[in-house]
């Protein structure tokens, strides 16, 4: 009788141990998926916040943004960009290697966003980088543009000039 009792109790203990282990394992897997779900939710929330920020701080009537894009230019590696708007420095950016690669792969960087009154304005972009032989390259591009009561987007564009095998720099207005 004693033997049966001890066998039964050890069986119960074994089953409960197995169950608790499987519950623990399921909990761990559940926690991982819960973390992933949280990550996804936080990213979506942050995106909503970013939208709100853009609409509140940069209304469509005064919104102004400058983008930077670069083709796969073999003879130029961008290092930094400095922007001046109406003779005032507004922003500058120093590029990491992976950011240069991101531009080369077709990425577009929003380098500046702000508010601008309607009227005539002047944008100056100072681009610094290195050529294939590691020699420093510095270029300045300017643009005079008019701003109406709607959003205005400009693009500092670095493209490849296949005829001269050197980069072309320009400021392009987005229509």
């Amino acid at each position: 009788m004693k033997a049966i009792h001890s066998f039964a109790s050890s069986l119960v203990l074994f089953v409960s141990l197995c169950m608790s282990f499987s519950v623990f394992a399921a909990d761990q897997a559940g926690l991982d998926s819960e973390i992933e779900e949280l990550k996804s939710e936080v990213i979506e929330l942050n995106r909503e916040l970013f939208d709100l920020e853009e609409q509140l701080l940069y209304p469509a009537t005064t919104s102004f943004a400058v983008f930077v894009s670069m083709d796969a230019v073999p003879d130029f590696k961008i290092q930094s960009v400095k922007l001046s708007l109406d003779e005032q420095d507004v922003t500058s950016h120093i590029y990491r290697d992976e950011q240069v690669e991101a531009l080369r792969r077709g990425g577009i960087q929003k380098i500046y966003e702000g508010n601008l009154k309607p009227g005539l304005h002047h944008l100056k972009a100072e681009i610094m980088g290195k050529d294939r032989d590691g020699r420093p390259v510095k270029r300045m591009v300017v643009a005079d543009f008019g701003k109406a009561r709607s959003s205005k987007y400009l693009e500092v564009k670095i493209s490849n000039n296949p005829n001269q095998n050197k980069p072309d720099f320009a400021i392009v207005e987005w229509k």
Binding site: D32, L38, L49, L52, R96, I108, Q109
Partner: protein
């Protein structure tokens, strides 16, 4: 088991790099897609995923399945491997080429295999890897693909297939080094002739210069080779490799310890003491290699017959082990209170998170610093720690977002107040009244002017007497005409005189006309300018009036809703954060227990040896005293 350890050890080094999906330029300068691409390639996966969500929300077309691959890649980058896996499976379930082009398909299978590999699911990784069509992969991925395939084939015991992949790796690629390292480990497991193993290790050492951190990697290879040769009883070869490990690297303690044992095996006891003393002096007793040295030194001293010195060293080791045991116990307590992990989390770089962002393990002036570095840098622990770090970063993001929302709320309030001021001033109605009165003045003036300047002969500007004169001139002219029925010389003379008088008056009137017209035009221009200005003011006020309400209307509601969502999210995240901390803590606790057990074993050995030595040295004394008595 050894395989498992080495492979996982390699993983954090290998996968620190960016995931590089398909290239596709932004269509018609789509700023959202362009920014998504930029964020993805520059390693800002959270931003990339955010932009991707926006693109989907706005229903942008023309990107095909690229958005799905981007999303899965960003998810892998953020450590959301389950989500990524679902995405890849969905992508690959349809075999139509039009649905997913061959290069994208090859890439998706590759990332899927990589995901399984990172998770340690070797079978699934290998079956996914075998579905990759290497010829469709971009050049950057080809070498990595062959490396992973080599490793997986080796692990599954298919060395012939592995060899084929190794031969396809470019020799100047960093992946070649890792592949040869794994091949060497595989040779050691498969009892391949020692000369072949050495050749593979040497090949890996030769290729090390193509990697980002050649010094650290060559230290690692030398240590691996040294440990292998020592374990197979080839002390001299082991010594050759171990001597090449630098004295200030991550692998120094392990190399010094193995170097000492290799020398001991060669009966060079005196020489063996030197690396062990160096290890003991320069590193913390919490390091497990130092702990082994603490009993290895007296063991050597005993071999050198310096028994009293050995006894002293064993006593010293016993004290040290007591201390280490106590310190480990304190670390376990600090785990429960959060004093162990919270300071580590607090020092992580904000906004740097995801699977490829290493956790900063330096924790100066913390009692658990040594232990932390030792245990937490282990590959199998990294995933859990990174998840905890990600939760910590997200928590601070949510908190700062809530601060931002407060600031936005204030902005909206300020705009509402501005609007009220504009409304109170009634600027618009004032400008409207001014404008209406000016316009009516202008209209009246214009009517009068038109009347006055209708006849360019200036008759409209004549005075009453002049008007009478003009009337009388007409009458006189009529009378002269009547007289013309009886023609005479006097008639012509009358007509001439009348014309002269009339001419003088008309000349005066014409002069006056031009003079007055000049004046009136000037006045009219002034009035027109005034109207223009007032109109401008009116329009500006009207603009401010119409724009101001939009500056805050609707935002308050959005801000409130978002704040509530953030609060809920933060509460949810806090709960998961503590659960994950518990999980990390339990892993560390198990490790601490193991370390304490090991220290206990060392201590037992040290005590037994000390007791034996004490006995031996005392007996010697007794024998010497007995001899003297006799």
């Amino acid at each position: 088991m050894r395989w498992f350890i080495w492979l996982l050890f390699i993983v954090p080094v290998v996968y620190g790099d960016d995931l590089l999906p398909d290239e596709r330029r932004a269509i018609a300068r789509d700023p959202i897609y362009g920014q998504a691409l930029y964020s993805l390639h520059s390693g800002e996966y959270d931003k990339a995923l955010g932009f991707n969500y926006q693109l989907r929300k706005e229903g942008r077309k023309g990107y095909g399945k690229v958005l799905d691959i981007h999303e899965a890649t960003a998810q892998l980058g953020l450590g959301m491997s389950q989500h990524a896996q679902k995405q890849y499976k969905r992508l690959l379930s349809d075999t139509r080429v039009s649905f997913l082009p061959a290069p994208a398909r090859a890439q998706a299978w590759f990332y899927m295999a990589k995901h399984f590999y990172n998770k340690g699911l070797w079978d699934s990784a290998l079956s996914s890897m075998r579905k990759v069509n290497g010829s469709y992969l971009v050049d950057d991925l080809k070498d990595e693909y062959h490396f992973l395939a080599t490793t997986l084939e080796l692990f599954k015991g298919k060395p012939e297939k592995a060899d084929k992949h190794i031969l396809n790796i470019k020799p100047d690629s960093k992946w070649a080094v890792y592949a040869y390292m794994n091949l060497a480990v595989s040779y050691t497991e498969r009892d391949i002739h020692i000369s072949k193993v050495e050749a593979v290790f040497n090949k890996a050492l030769l290729l090390v210069k193509n990697t980002n951190k050649p010094e650290a990697l060559s230290d690692k290879i030398n240590l691996m080779a040294g440990q292998f040769f020592y374990a197979t009883g080839r002390g001299r070869s082991a010594i050759k490799h171990l001597k090449s490990v630098s004295l200030d690297g991550a692998y120094t303690p392990k190399a010094l310890l193995t170097y000492g044992w290799a020398l001991t095996e060669q009966w060079q006891y005196h020489d063996a003491l030197q690396p062990w003393y160096m290890l003991k002096t320069n590193h913390s007793p919490l390091n497990q290699d130092v702990q082994e040295t603490l009993i290895a030194i007296p063991y050597l001293l005993e071999k050198l017959n310096a028994k009293v010195m050995a006894l002293g060293a064993f006593d010293y080791a016993t004290e040290q082990f007591d201390d280490i045991y106590r310190q480990l116990g304190e670390s376990a307590i600090r785990l429960n209170t959060g004093e162990f992990i919270e300071p580590l989390m607090a020092q992580q770089v904000p906004d740097r998170w995801g699977a490829f962002e290493a956790v900063d393990l330096s924790l100066p002036n913390h009692p658990d610093q040594i232990y932390l570095k030792d245990v937490m840098s282990r590959g199998n622990f990294q995933g859990e720690l990174k998840n905890l770090r990600d939760l910590h970063v997200m928590r601070s993001q949510l908190k700062s977002a809530m601060e931002e929302l407060k600031a936005f709320d204030q902005t909206a309030d300020t705009r509402a107040q501005e609007y009220l001021i504009i409304k109170k001033e009634a600027r618009i109605s004032k400008h409207q009244i001014d404008l209406a009165s000016l316009q009516s003045r202008y209209k009246k003036l214009l009517g009068r002017i038109n009347k006055a300047f209708k006849n360019p002969d200036g008759s409209g500007l004549a005075s009453q007497s002049e008007k009478d004169q003009l009337v009388s001139f007409k009458q006189v002219s009529k009378q002269i005409s009547r007289l013309s029925k009886r023609p005479s010389l006097a008639e012509q003379s009358y007509k001439d005189r009348l014309r002269r008088v009339e001419g003088v008056l008309k000349w005066t009137l014409s002069e006056r006309y031009s003079e007055r017209k000049k004046q009136v035009s000037q006045n009219l221009a002034i009035l027109e300018e005034k109207i223009r200005q007032t109109n401008k003011q009116f329009k500006a006020a009207q603009y401010a009036y119409t724009v101001a309400p939009k500056g805050f209307n609707g935002f308050k509601k959005r801000i409130n809703t978002l704040t509530k969502t953030y609060e809920k999210q933060l509460a949810k995240l806090d709960k998961v954060y503590y659960q994950q901390r518990e999980k990390v803590g339990s892993i560390v606790k198990v490790d601490i227990k193991k370390r304490q057990q090991r220290v206990m074993d060392y201590q037992l050995q040290a005590r037994l040896a000390a007791a034996r030595l004490f006995d031996e040295t005392s007996n010697e004394q007794r024998i010497v005293t007995g001899e003297l008595r006799q």
